[in-house]
Each structure stands twice: as C-alpha cells, then as structure tokens.
C-alpha cells in the first residue's frame, strides 16, 4: 500500500489527518533572497475540506500553491503531502498526481488544439493504459460539464468554459486535492460562478479537497475554512463567518468582508438580532423578520 492510500484509509478513523501539512515554512525567490515571500507558515489542510486562501497580490498565496505540489521547494521548514515531503525528488510525481494545480490564465495551460487530447495529456504523461485514459477523459469532461465539446477546439469558448477544461485536464489525473490558483481572477462573473460551482460539486460529490486561492472575498463564503495571508504570514484563519466577523482586523490589511456580511455586522452592532447569513437572499429574509 502506498502512503497515499494509507492516509486515505486513515481518513475514516475519527482522528482528522491532514492531507497537506505545512510546518515552519519560509521561502524566498533566488532572484531576491533578502525578501522572504513566506515567513514561518504553519498550516494544515484536511481531507475533503474546501479551504479558501485569501490575500492581496504579493501576500504569498500563489507561491504557497506552487510549494504544495513541489514546483517550488521551501527555503526552510517542511511541506508534507500525504506524509510525503515535497523536498525529495523521488516524491515529485506521486505528489503531482495527487495535487492538481489550476492556474490563472486558461489559455496558457492547454497543450493541444483538441479539447479531449488536452484532457488526456496528464494521464498520458504518467503512462496510464489507453482504455483507462479514454474513460478518465470522458469522466473528467463530464464532471466539469464540458462533454459536448470533447472534439472541439478551445478557441471559441468563453473564459469560464476554458477554465473548466483546464480543471478537467487536472482532474483526469484523479488527484485527491485540487488547488485553484487565482483561477477565477481573469473570468467574468458568469465564468466565475461556473468554475466555483464545479469546484464545489467536486468537493461534495467526488470528495476532492479543494483549495481556492482568490482575492474575491465573497468567494470565500462557500469555503469550510478561510486562511488569510498577509505579507507572507498567516494573518487570520477560521470559519468564513468568524473571519469576516472581525472586520476591524481585515481593514488593517486593507481587506474587507463581503458586502452582505458587512451589512449584517453593522446591523448587529446597532443592536439588531440577526442570524448568520451567507447570501443576499438570506439577508433579505432576516431583514424581513426585523420589520
């Protein structure tokens, strides 16, 4: 049994075991060694959870994503994926098969002109037999709702559709974790909704751990847990509503709660009794009760 399977088997036991464990990690790029992009980060990601990683540009969140799958290796400290240390080269492909990274620009992630060929790229790389590749490609495209485009080219698709294909390309490797590294940043609101819906469904239905890296606060509301990074350090973490409750702390690093939460917070401050809400609809209902 590989250590990956062991962790997966262990996940049924009552003790929660992390799929990603970041311990005292610091990092700087070779081009600018004096500037620590990440400083002494400690973080655990648990199996099956939806984690949102928030922060400004330059907060180190994208660097962290590349550390997760071993594209970058920590300067000091350790990152363990299913107990495998990313610093060892022999773990490289075991880790990458299990941590799928989706990047910001969908155009720069596709290798071929035919969509199904592109989805097959990952499984082809790791030498999966042909019949299984076909099955996986079908499954992955179905999971992101793009089966109808299998034989087409990505040129005419919308940003959201292209990004869903990029997710399918990662999904075809059957990863346990998917990291969306600012994958919604270049999309229009509709494309963002599409991609987020796919991510949520993968977490719910396929049990895939999702790490959503974003600077859109409202996207974090759909997460189970939020980690806020600032200047390379973990600034806050907790359930989305807990984190957004503390608007003062967020304002200090020039972030803010999503408008719905912000309004709710202010009404509470004014003494109104309002239940926790996530969406405008829910807030409207609460307001209706007050009147």
């Amino acid at each position: 049994m590989s250590s990956v399977d062991e962790i997966m088997a262990g996940a049924d036991k009552p003790v929660k075991r992390p799929v990603i464990k970041v311990e005292n990690v610091s990092f700087s790029y070779p081009s600018d060694e004096s500037n620590l992009v990440l400083q002494d980060i400690n973080l655990e990601v648990f199996r099956g959870e939806f984690l949102a990683l928030l922060g400004h540009n330059g907060s180190g969140k994208s660097t962290l994503a590349k550390l997760f799958n071993g594209l970058l290796v920590p300067l000091t400290g350790d990152i363990e994926i299913f107990g495998l240390n990313t610093a060892y080269e022999e773990n490289e492909f075991k880790i990458r098969r299990n941590i799928g990274l989706v990047f910001q620009n969908p155009d720069n992630q596709m290798v071929t002109t035919i969509i199904e060929d592109d989805v097959a790229f990952g499984p082809e790389n790791v030498g999966i037999p042909r019949n299984e590749i076909i099955e996986r490609v079908r499954w992955a495209l179905d999971a992101v709702g793009m089966s109808a485009y299998a034989k087409g080219t990505p040129t005419r698709l919308s940003g959201g559709q292209k990004q869903r294909i990029a997710i399918a390309g990662v999904l075809a490797l059957k990863p346990k974790v998917i990291v969306l590294d600012e994958s919604t940043a270049m999309l229009d609101p509709r494309g963002r909704r599409e991609v987020l819906a796919v991510a949520k469904r993968l977490q719910k239905e396929e049990g895939i751990t999702v790490i959503l890296i974003t600077h859109f606060m409202e996207e974090a509301l759909m997460a189970d847990r939020v980690v806020v990074l600032d200047k390379g350090k973990v600034y806050m973490q907790g359930k989305p509503l807990e984190v957004f409750e503390n608007e003062e702390a967020l304002k200090q690093i020039k972030l803010g709660a999503p408008p719905v939460i912000s309004l709710k917070n202010r009404l509470r401050e004014m003494g109104a009794s309002i239940n926790d809400v996530y969406t405008e609809g829910e807030l409207a209902k609460e307001l209706g009760k007050l009147i």
């Binding site: 590349k66 990458r96 799928g100 199904e116 097959a120 790389n125």
Partner: protein, 273 residues
C-alpha cells in the same frame, strides 16, 4: 477577433479525410516520386484522372486545389520560358531573329509545367484533408523509429503541437497590441521601409515579452500535470489501419502500375528525348 485557420484544412467528412494520416503522408511522398517518373502526356492523363477522382472523393472544391498552384505560378512561368529557349536541336517550329523554338523544347516545357502543377496539387490535397494536429501525429509516428538513435521525436512533435495551439492566441494578441499602439498615436503605414520596420519594434517587444511569460506559465502547468518527456508515456489516440486504408493503398498501387506500364510500353506514342 480575427478568424484564423492555420494551414488550409478544409473540414469535411470524406473517405479521404478519414484515412490514416501516416498513410496519407507516405502516399503523398510516393506520389511526388511517381510524378518524376511521368514523362509523357498519356501518363499525365492518368495522373489527372487519379487526382480528379481523389478530389471528387474528398469533397474539397476543385478551386481550393487550384489555389495551391497560384503562389508558384510565377515560378512555373519563369521556368517554362527558360526551358522553352533551352532546347538547341530538333525540329524547328518557330524562328525570329536569334530566337529559335524547337518542337522538343515545346513538348518538354509543356511536360514541365504539368509536372510542377501536379507536384503541388498532391500535397495540397494532403493539407486540405488532414488537420495540422493529425499531420503532427502522423509525422511523430512515422519518425518514431528514429528514437533508437536518440532523435527527440516526441519532443519535436510536442513543439509542433504547442506552436499550432498558440498561433491563433498570439495572432489575437498581436491585433490587440497593434490597436493599443495605434491608439497611442503609433503610425505603421507611412514613411520609408526603414521607418516602417522601426515602427514594428513597439509591436514585437510586447509580443515577445508576453510569449515568454506564456511559455513559462505553460511550462509550470505541464510540470504540474506530470510531464516528464516522452519516456514512459502512453497515448490516447490510436492510429489503426482500416479497410479504407487498405483500399487506398490498393488504388495507389494500381495508379503507380499504370504510370510504370505507360513509361515502359507506350513511350513511342509521344517520343521525348
């Protein structure tokens, strides 16, 4: 956005389109060699009928095939004229001042023109009926024996595939950059040739910068998807010879046999050389 079709693929669902790309490439090469064996009009008649039936089968409009000849029309005319005055003996047919045209030269020129035209029309049919992706795939598999001598066949094919993928993206980007520079007052359409060339610099530099950035991102994405070169890689697409492919080979063999038979037996019909 500019609609961009790379190469000149003509999408259709014909038997020719469905042929194995490897076979099409090999047969096209064989066709080119065969054309060089053709040295009389009867044989060119056979080539004409062969090509015409292929075009008919492929449902590609004939004008698309003829379009392939257009870019080399001047070369054909130039070589033809040169060739016409080259022959220095045989039967005189025309004489003016110091220019003499011989009957043999006339025949040779006609054959040369036909040969050049048929030479480009065959490969044109290949690119019209095969997607660039399939062509790349076919070339990769045909060259795969070279892996033994460590020729990077897979890498070469991947480079071609990525190039095909990014051509439309970079075209679109060039369009954007041109518009952006024009809106800041750049002028690309006036001045002498040096000024115009210099005007291209503000287009090329951002284009290169962006292309490099894209390349870096693509490399990261490929790494993340476990790319480690051609070793130990499997393929989803399987190229398999079908009945049509065998029929195509059979048809081609018959064609070559006709050409050879004509060359051997009927050479005296229209004597050349």
């Amino acid at each position: 956005m500019r609609e961009m079709t790379f190469g000149q693929y003509y999408p259709a669902e014909s038997v020719i389109h469905k042929l194995d790309p490897r076979l099409k490439i090999v047969l096209t090469l064989a066709y080119i060699v065969t054309i060089f064996f053709v040295n009389n009009f009867l044989a060119f008649g056979v080539v004409f009928i062969f090509l015409l039936s292929l075009v008919f089968l492929s449902s590609v409009p004939i004008r698309m095939i003829l379009k392939a000849v257009r870019p080399i029309m001047y070369i054909i005319i130039f070589t033809a004229i040169l060739n016409l005055f080259w022959g220095v003996d045989g039967t005189r047919v025309w004489n003016w001042w110091f220019i003499t045209i011989y009957r043999e030269a006339l025949f040779n020129t006609a054959l040369l023109m036909l040969r050049l035209m048929f030479l480009v029309m065959g490969p044109a049919l290949l690119t019209l009926t095969t997607t660039p992706m399939d062509l790349t795939d076919g070339i990769e598999r045909l060259l795969s024996p070279l892996k033994v001598v460590r020729f990077p066949v897979h890498e070469l094919a991947l480079v071609m595939s990525i190039a095909l993928r990014f051509i439309p993206i970079l075209m679109e980007e060039t369009d954007k950059i041109i518009k952006a520079q024009k809106s800041r007052g750049a002028n690309f359409d006036s001045g002498n040739i040096f000024k115009r060339a210099a005007a291209l610099i503000p287009i090329l530099i951002p284009l290169f910068v962006s292309a490099f950035r894209r390349a870096e991102e693509l490399a990261l994405a490929m790494d993340s998807r476990c790319y480690k070169g051609g070793k130990g890689r499997t393929r989803m697409k399987l190229l398999k010879f079908s009945l049509t492919d065998f029929l195509a080979v059979l048809g081609f063999i018959i064609f070559v046999l006709c050409i050879v038979a004509i060359r051997v037996h009927f050479m005296h019909i229209i004597p050349v050389h």
